[in-house]
Structure formats: structure tokens, C-alpha cells
């Protein structure tokens, strides 16, 4: 069973809620190794998307929702997360195209496009202690799940599990990109806030997909 516009809107609402709930946690993580604005910026960005969901035209697709998130985050987030997440959602929207419903392989494809967009924008590689360290394991897990014939909700569940493990695994790493890289060795021992927010957003997607599948 594919994921449609209802799922996409639900994902955004759940994202806004989970980011809001973890706002302080993200701020704390970012304050330890960055400039401390990640939770606040992401919260502002997703809160700005919410009212725009009501203005979506009838017949909008998941791709339209992803594009709305992209342009809103780019305009409102302010820190590096704005262009990076904005690019991720924009590339995901392009990969989703005008499809009304997304199946497992389509979900794997939009996650791959999103991750590739972030890599192209931020030039980070695996192990640099960035959101890529959550996104790349998520893409790999999604690809494997889709190839095994798992449905869309299952693909997102696999991606979310892998992203959470990836975010956790950033703790011992020394940052090589972004503001945290100025700290050098001192960045080790702290979880990367961007990897953490990526994991939260993918978990929200998986939860929305599970709710959609159960409906």
C-alpha cells in the first residue's frame, strides 16, 4: 500500500510536533558543539509550514507537500539547517514527481535523492559528524528493504531505525564539517544535533506511514 497526500500532511504535522517536543534537547546538543540554535531554528521552520498546509490546493500530491516544506524551511530556518534540509526536501519533491501514491521503491528513491542533495550542498561525507551520518544508513536500509519487497511503511521503519543508530554513532566522532569542526577533538563525546533531527524526522515519517497503513 502506497503513501499518499494524507500521509505526507500527517508527516509534516508529526514532524512539527516532534521537533517542538525535542526543541530543548536539540538546542542542548547544538550548544555543546555548535551555536545552539538548531532546535529553535528547526522549530520555527516547521511551525511556519503548518498554516500553509491548509492552503494546499485540492489534488495536491506528496511531492507538492515536500516542496512546500522545502521552500518554507529555506526561508525561515536561518542556520545551515535551512539550506540543507530545504535542499533535502526539494530533491525529495523532485524525486516524488507528480505521483499520487509512493510505494517502497519510490520511498527509497526520494530518500536517496534527499541524501544526495544534502551531500551536494554541504559537501559532507560519512563520518564527518553531520546529518549525513543519519541519512546515509537510512538510505542504505531503505534500499535493502525496498529491494526485499517491503511496503512503503516498512521501508520508512527500516530507514528510521538506521537513522537513529546512525545519530547515536556520531557521539564518538570528531566533527569535520560545520560549526562543530572548529572544536576539533573537543567535538567528540557529543551527539550531532543535525543527525539527531534527521532521525527524529524519519521516525515521524515512519509513524505517519504506520498510522496510514493501519487506517
Amino acid at each position: 500500500m502506497g503513501l499518499d497526500i494524507t500521509w505526507a500532511v500527517d508527516w509534516v504535522r508529526r514532524s512539527a510536533q516532534v521537533i517542538s517536543e525535542h526543541r530543548v534537547e536539540l538546542i542542548t546538543l547544538d550548544r555543546e558543539i555548535g551555536d545552539g540554535d538548531h532546535g529553535e531554528n528547526m522549530d520555527r521552520g516547521f511551525q511556519a509550514v503548518l498554516p500553509k498546509l491548509d492552503d494546499l490546493a485540492a489534488g495536491s500530491t506528496p511531492g507538492d507537500v515536500l516542496k512546500l516544506v522545502a521552500t518554507t524551511l529555506i526561508s525561515t530556518v536561518g542556520g545551515a539547517a535551512g539550506p540543507l534540509y530545504g535542499t533535502a526536501y526539494l530533491k525529495a519533491a523532485a524525486a516524488a514527481g507528480s505521483a499520487v501514491s509512493l510505494d517502497g521503491p519510490a520511498i527509497a528513491a526520494i530518500l536517496t535523492a534527499a541524501r544526495d542533495g544534502v551531500v551536494a550542498r554541504g559537501k559532507a561525507e560519512t563520518g564527518d559528524k553531520t546529518m549525513i551520518d543519519a541519512l546515509t544508513p537510512a538510505v542504505d536500509a531503505a534500499d535493502a528493504a525496498a529491494a526485499a519487497g517491503v511496503d512503503a511503511a516498512g521501508v520508512f521503519a527500516a530507514a528510521a531505525d538506521a537513522a537513529e543508530a546512525g545519530a547515536l554513532a556520531t557521539e564518538p566522532l570528531v566533527a569535520r564539517k560545520g560549526r562543530a569542526s572548529y572544536l576539533g577533538e573537543r567535538s567528540a563525546g557529543h551527539r550531532d544535533p543535525g543527525a539527531e533531527s534527521s532521525a527524529l524526522l524519519l521516525r515521524a515519517a515512519a509513524d505517519a506511514a504506520a498510522a496510514s497503513a493501519g487506517a
Partner: protein
């Protein structure tokens, strides 16, 4: 706000005060070029704004292009994202330059003021990265007038030797005046061995009042340029 026939310069900073300050500083040497600040977020916090950067590019662009200088990481990401959203035709003439904000911005502004094309303004900003300054200034670093004069006299070409009369020496504004005038001539002219068209090179000479200034062109047709620059220096750049 874009100035016809001139390249624009956009300063992107996390801080509105820094971006505005850079415009103010560079404006001193580039009174008519389009210098635009895109600092802080839309609501005045620390950060960078896609919308301010996009509007800034439009404001600075006269059709001859825009040089964009950025501070910390996400300013560059925001600027790159803004470029992605431009029409292809506009994007081709907008360049994000990796250069020190202050020195690179001032150098770019002076080149823009002189009416230089985009590539030259980009090169002026990039000349502030360091090694180039050291190389151009190296020839004269620590050279007292007495050391320079014989070399200059022995060199082929046309030289005018004058003494700086203005009280503050060749500081930023007069240096910019000199560079602007030198840039109006096609011939290569040097000031104490440093390219007269390089603002950072001229400023790094650190010439003070009373210093000997050898203005030289080895170009056979460079006489007029040398005389014009010598006249400007002798006039004290309009300063006491």
C-alpha cells in the same frame, strides 16, 4: 540601487551589523558602486536569510554581475541555495567568492567602482586571500626609499619619483584613488615595484607622509599614466 555599468557586491553575514558595516567601510572607497548588505535573518536575529540574499542579488545586479562575499559556513550554503533558485541567465553572472570579507570586500568594491568586468572584480576579491598579497608586497617590504631609488632609476622605462605630502600617507582612501586612476590606463604601472592596480598591494606598502614613491611604467606608452598618477600623488589626494 544597482548602478548601471557596474558590477555589484553583496555582503552576506550572520550579523546585520557586520554586513552593514562592510558596506559602510567599502562605500568610502566606492561611492557609486552597488554595495548591498544581506546580514542576519528576516527578523533581525543572528543567521542568514535566503530571502534577504535573493533580494540583495537582485538589488546589486545591474546586468554586469554580482560578487557575493560570505562569512561562516551557512552563509555560503544560503547563498548557494539562493543561486540555485535564480534564472540561468542571472545565475551565470553571480559569483560566490571565497575571500576574506573585509579585505576582499574592499578590493572588490574598488574594482567594481572602477567599472571593471565581473572576472576582474572576482580576481580583486580573491587577491585578498593572502599569498598574493605577500608576493606583491614582498618586493618592497622593509625597503627604505634609499634602497628603492637606485633600482628604479636603473630599470628601463619611465619613472617619476615623488614624496608623499598628505599627512596620513597612502591610507585606504588615497590608495583607492590611486588604484582607480591606474585602472583607467591599459598600461602596467608600478608603485615601488607593486602593481598600481592592486589595492591590497598598494595598501600593504604602508607608505607614510614623506615616503618616496617611485611610479614606473616599463610600457613605452605608459608615460601618460605615470604622469597622471604622479600628479594625483603630488596633489596630496585632496587631503592636507
Amino acid at each position: 540601487m544597482a548602478t548601471p555599468e557596474k558590477v555589484g557586491v553583496l555582503f552576506v553575514s550572520h550579523s546585520a551589523a557586520i554586513a552593514a558595516g562592510l558596506v559602510e567601510l567599502a562605500r568610502q572607497m566606492a561611492p557609486t558602486a552597488a554595495l548591498v548588505a544581506a546580514g542576519g535573518t528576516d527578523d533581525g536575529r543572528i543567521g542568514t536569510s535566503f530571502d534577504l540574499v535573493t533580494a540583495g542579488i537582485a538589488e546589486a545586479d545591474s546586468g554586469r554581475g554580482v560578487v557575493v562575499l560570505c562569512d561562516l559556513g551557512s552563509a555560503i550554503l544560503t547563498a548557494e541555495t539562493a543561486l540555485d533558485f535564480l534564472d540561468d541567465e542571472v545565475r551565470e553572472r553571480v559569483r560566490i567568492v571565497d575571500a576574506p570579507l573585509v579585505e576582499g570586500g574592499v578590493a572588490a568594491a574598488v574594482a567594481a567602482e572602477a567599472g571593471d568586468p565581473l572576472d576582474v572584480v572576482v580576481a580583486a576579491a580573491e587577491s585578498a586571500r593572502g599569498p598574493a598579497i605577500a608576493a606583491s608586497a614582498g618586493a618592497t617590504t622593509g625597503a627604505a626609499p634609499a634602497d628603492v631609488a637606485p633600482t628604479a632609476a636603473a630599470a628601463p622605462g619611465y619613472t617619476r619619483s615623488i614624496r608623499l605630502v598628505n599627512s596620513d600617507g597612502l591610507h585606504a582612501r588615497p590608495a583607492a584613488e590611486l588604484v582607480k586612476l591606474a585602472s583607467t590606463f591599459p598600461q602596467k604601472v608600478t608603485v615601488n615595484g607593486t602593481d598600481a592596480k592592486s589595492l591590497l598591494g598598494i595598501m600593504s606598502l604602508g607608505l607614510t607622509k614623506g615616503a618616496q614613491v617611485d611610479i614606473t611604467s616599463r610600457d613605452l606608452s605608459g608615460r601618460e599614466a605615470v604622469d597622471a598618477l604622479a600628479a594625483l600623488a603630488e596633489s596630496g589626494f585632496g587631503e592636507a
